[in-house]
């Protein structure tokens, strides 16, 4: 573990940064008092990179992801996605950017229970006002291994299958950046492997950028680079590490 200031990942494919965080801070204010969830994070996610973010519980991982994706506004600092500064966008512009450029996968599968698998996957396209092409939907369903399940409803699928529907839904708009928060948190190891394989494939085959928050060293090992977050600050990184190395670094951080 190299506890130095974060550097540009050498192993990532060259190219302009897909996502740029510049001195992000985030303070939550509530009746109970203020919490500094992020205390100045600067980082460039290269196009086509797969980055895992790890850290103890409460270290600000989810907050980082939400600020990076424009779901929440950082207290200070800027976020630039594919050259667009999120700060100046209004709610509708943010939404349009989100549906064009970003895909989301979360621990809770977040599917609409009333829609079939097919309709869930096609929903982002419908929201843009486009009529989804049957072939496109079938193709992403195949890609995640759910061919033949198009007519099912989420309740009729296993957890792993539901998460694959969520990935298919993220894939269908061909986003440039994937945001994943504990995508395998509720899955067994075999199913987790399939899900992580899908994310890996997105970077390898389509040059999409993946930012994944996880607490599982095995999952983190799918990424080229693991960023460590501690108390709202970047505490270092590991490149192409094994699960054992990552686990050791984590226990250092927590200890």
């Amino acid at each position: 573990m190299t506890a130095t200031a974060p550097t540009y990942p050498s192993t990532a494919p060259a190219g302009p940064p897909a996502l740029l965080l510049d001195s992000i801070t985030k303070t939550y204010r509530s009746k109970a008092g203020a919490v500094d969830a992020l205390r100045g994070v600067t980082y460039h996610f290269a196009r086509g990179s797969f980055t895992a973010v790890m850290g103890p519980s409460g270290s600000g991982k989810s907050t980082l992801l939400q600020c990076a994706a424009g779901l929440d506004h950082p207290t200070t600092g800027t976020v630039v996605l594919n050259g667009v500064t999120l700060l100046g966008l209004n709610e509708v512009e943010l939404t349009k950017l989100r549906r064009a450029e970003m895909g989301f996968v979360f621990q809770a599968y977040n599917l609409l229970p009333s829609l079939t698998v097919y309709d869930n996957v096609a929903l982002p396209l419908r929201l843009t006002g486009r009529r989804p092409a049957r072939n496109d939907v079938q193709r992403v369903l195949e890609q995640v291994g759910l061919e033949g399940k198009a007519k099912r409803r989420p309740a009729e699928l296993s957890g792993g299958q539901q998460q694959r529907v969520a990935i298919a839904r993220a894939l269908i708009t061909r986003p440039s950046v994937f945001f994943a928060d504990e995508p395998t948190g509720a899955l067994d190891s075999g199913t987790s492997r399939q899900i992580l394989g899908l994310l890996r494939e997105a970077t390898d085959r389509a040059g999409q950028t993946v930012v994944m928050v996880t607490h599982d060293p095995v999952a983190a090992a799918y990424a080229e680079r693991v960023l460590f977050l501690s108390d709202g600050l970047l505490a270092g990184h590991l490149d192409r590490a094994t699960p054992a190395q990552i686990a050791a670094a984590m226990s250092d951080l927590e200890g």
Binding site: L71, K96, N110, L112, P124, L127, T128, R169
Partner: protein, 644 residues
């Protein structure tokens, strides 16, 4: 977005069942009021028993011929009641629909957040909610209209030959009234859904990720401003409930609570937690964990609690104020009648013959005259009296002029009527008598009002005999001869009663009449509110399966959860009822003051039974409709269900 609306309505059947039933019943009542009104409009009274008169014209209106029906076969009483039923139903419908939609939106924050996350704009969310509302509203309005059409003949059969419509009513063409009812239903639904949709549009993508789907405690500034405006309006209306408003005080007392209810509902997310905190003190002190849980559930989601409290608040405040106002109005009527009668004996029916035991008999002749004004002509109650005798048997205190001149073509007018029409002593009032003779009556006196004893127009007995030869004395006031005890005399004269007994009978009659009106007005509203209360609470509980499962997993027993729901719904019910009580008491105190000024010793009848009954019914409904689905859910929610 309509594609989504269609799918989600199906999914949220339990949420929308509430709105559906509420709106269908609302449109049913509106439709019924509309078809019945159409039937009364289509009804043409017997033409023979009417008088044709020409109005005076002037002030920009030309004289015109109008027909004034002479008989009692008049359906305007029913029309008035129907329009009131329509107004109240419409009001409660808007109200219930707005709160059920608000509730549906509040319990779906996560879903909206998710849609926003995957790219729905706020506008798309708004349109989706409106689309859902439209789908539900269409189905509900058509159902309600169909039911109204089926029920119309039944209602008309019931309403025919009653005090309100002493004629036979036949259904008229239903298309226009039902179209109006359906349109009103759609409009009401859209109005109600609008604010809910706007709120749904404000849900952020991040709400899909937050752990609890807890709503923010904030309440929009627009809502606060409107709430305060309505509150100010209600307060202004309250200040108008004063003695000088006369007869207008009772309608004011009936409509002010509605404005007050709107104000309190708008401000409910602020008011409900406040009152809730108060009532929670004894609750937490008496109970163990379940009361504490109930308290935090009610306080942590003020919007949700406000939606649940709204229908209870509405019906308790409106019904309570109406019942109390009418009762106080009847008390005041009883006191007025008591003060207006001076004779110790009243004889109902034909006047008693003079005898040695009788000093004087005031046998007035009741008749009706058509009063002709500039642009209308109206049938008025009048009585032919002998002023010399009547001045001894009843209160005919003269405000101006003199009763001595009540001979020939003259009239004495009650103070209220004189006020309305600005009559002064010396004015001439053109009238047409039942024998069709037009006469100009000169005002010789303005006398004190005596509702229930004296009509607004008093004419000389001879004039009445001359122009209304068929008029019969219906009640007379009798002064016994000196030394004759009234109690003895009563036993000898047929139809005689002690004045005190007669006064009590009259007051009873007023109360009975009020009761009929109350049943017609409040019946549908109460039925409707009952459905609404049951609805919102049912929906609320059915949405909580997940919470129950989790609590069971944590070791809560079904009995503990049931107790929690019991306390929760009682707390919400108590909050709503205490606000309703405040409104009722305020209106009651004001109307009492307005009604008793100038009259001494007005009896006070508080209809405790009915008022407590309303409160108890609201509470039972609230608790019952929260507990029933909970019991059902708990039976199907073994802790193991949390795993799937």
């Amino acid at each position: 977005m309509f594609f989504l609306s269609r799918q989600t309505v199906g999914r949220h059947r339990s949420l929308y069942a509430g709105s559906f039933v509420a709106l269908a019943v609302g449109v049913f009542l509106l439709g019924l009021a509309a078809t019945a009104t159409a039937a009364t409009i289509a009804y043409h009274g017997p033409t023979s028993a009417s008088i044709s008169v020409t109005t005076l014209g002037g002030d920009g209106t030309a004289p015109q011929n109008v027909k004034v029906p002479l008989s009692d076969a008049d359906v305007s009483g029913l029309q008035t009641v129907l329009s009131l039923v329509g107004t109240i139903s419409g009001f409660i419908t808007i109200f219930v629909i707005a709160s059920t939609f608000a509730f549906a939106v509040a319990s779906r924050r996560r879903e909206f957040g998710l849609l926003r996350l995957i790219g729905a704009t706020p506008r798309q969310i708004r349109r989706m909610v409106l689309g859902e509302a439209l789908a539900v509203a269409l189905a509900a309005s058509l159902t309600g209209a169909l039911a109204a059409q089926l029920a119309t003949p039944l209602l008309l059969r019931r309403a025919s030959y009653t005090e309100l419509a002493p004629v036979k009513l036949e259904p008229a063409s239903p298309w226009v009234p039902l179209a109006i009812a359906v349109a009103a239903g759609l409009l009401v639904a859209m109005l109600g859904a609008r604010s809910a949709a706007r709120r749904a549009g404000r849900v952020g993508a991040i709400d899909a990720l937050r752990e609890a789907a807890l709503e923010p405690p904030r309440i929009g500034p627009v809502r606060v401003v409107f709430g305060l405006l309505f509150l100010a309006g209600a307060i202004v209306m309250l200040t108008l409930i004063r003695p000088s408003s006369g007869e207008g005080a009772v309608p004011l007392a009936m409509f002010t609570p509605m404005v007050m209810v709107i104000a309190l509902t708008l401000l409910a997310p602020l008011v409900v937690p406040l009152v809730g905190r108060l009532w929670a003190v004894p609750l937490v002190a008496w109970t163990q964990v379940s009361g504490r849980l109930a308290r935090s559930n009610v306080l942590a989601a003020p919007r949700r609690s406000a939606s649940l409290a709204a229908p209870i608040l509405a019906i308790s405040a409106i019904a309570g104020s109406m019942v109390l106002s009418l009762s106080f109005a009847a008390d005041s009527a009883a006191a007025t009648i008591r003060d207006a009668v001076r004779a110790p004996i009243v004889v109902t029916g034909a006047a008693p013959v003079d005898s040695a035991q009788v000093k004087a008999v005031d046998a007035g002749l009741p008749l009706r005259v058509v009063r002709v004004a500039a642009d209308y002509a109206e049938l008025e109650d009048a009585e032919g009296i002998d002023p010399a005798i009547a001045a001894q048997t009843r209160d005919l205190t003269v405000r101006s002029g003199s009763l001595a001149g009540l001979t020939g073509n003259t009239v004495a007018v009650s103070k209220e009527m004189a006020g309305f029409e600005s009559y002064h002593v010396g004015d001439e009032i053109p009238v047409v008598f039942p024998d069709r003779t037009p006469v100009k009556l000169r005002v010789v006196a303005i006398v004190k009002d005596a509702f229930g004893v004296n009509p607004s127009f008093l004419i000389p007995l001879d004039l009445a005999r001359k122009h209304a030869p068929e008029a019969q004395t219906e009640r007379s006031f009798v002064l016994p001869a000196d030394g004759v005890a009234p109690a003895d005399l009563v036993k000898q004269v047929p139809g005689a009663q002690l004045a005190t007994d007669w006064e009590a009978d009259q007051a009873d009659g007023v109360r009975k009449g009020n009761r009929l009106g109350l049943v017609m007005l409040l019946g549908p509203a109460a039925l409707y509110s009952a459905i609404a209360i049951a609805n919102t609470l049912l929906m609320g509980s059915l949405q909580r399966r997940h919470e129950f499962v989790t609590s069971r997993l944590l070791g809560a027993t079904p009995a503990q959860l049931r107790r929690m729901v019991l306390w929760e719904s009682s707390l919400v019910g108590t909050i709503a009822l205490s606000l309703g009580t405040v409104i009722t008491v305020t209106v009651g105190v004001l109307i009492r003051h307005a009604m008793t000024s100038g009259v001494a010793d007005v009896p006070m009848t508080v209809p405790w039974g009915i008022l407590l009954g309303i409160g108890a019914l609201c509470l039972i409904l609230a608790v019952g409709s929260a507990l029933a689905p909970t019991t059902y859910l708990l039976r199907r929610s073994q802790p193991s269900a949390a795993v799937d």
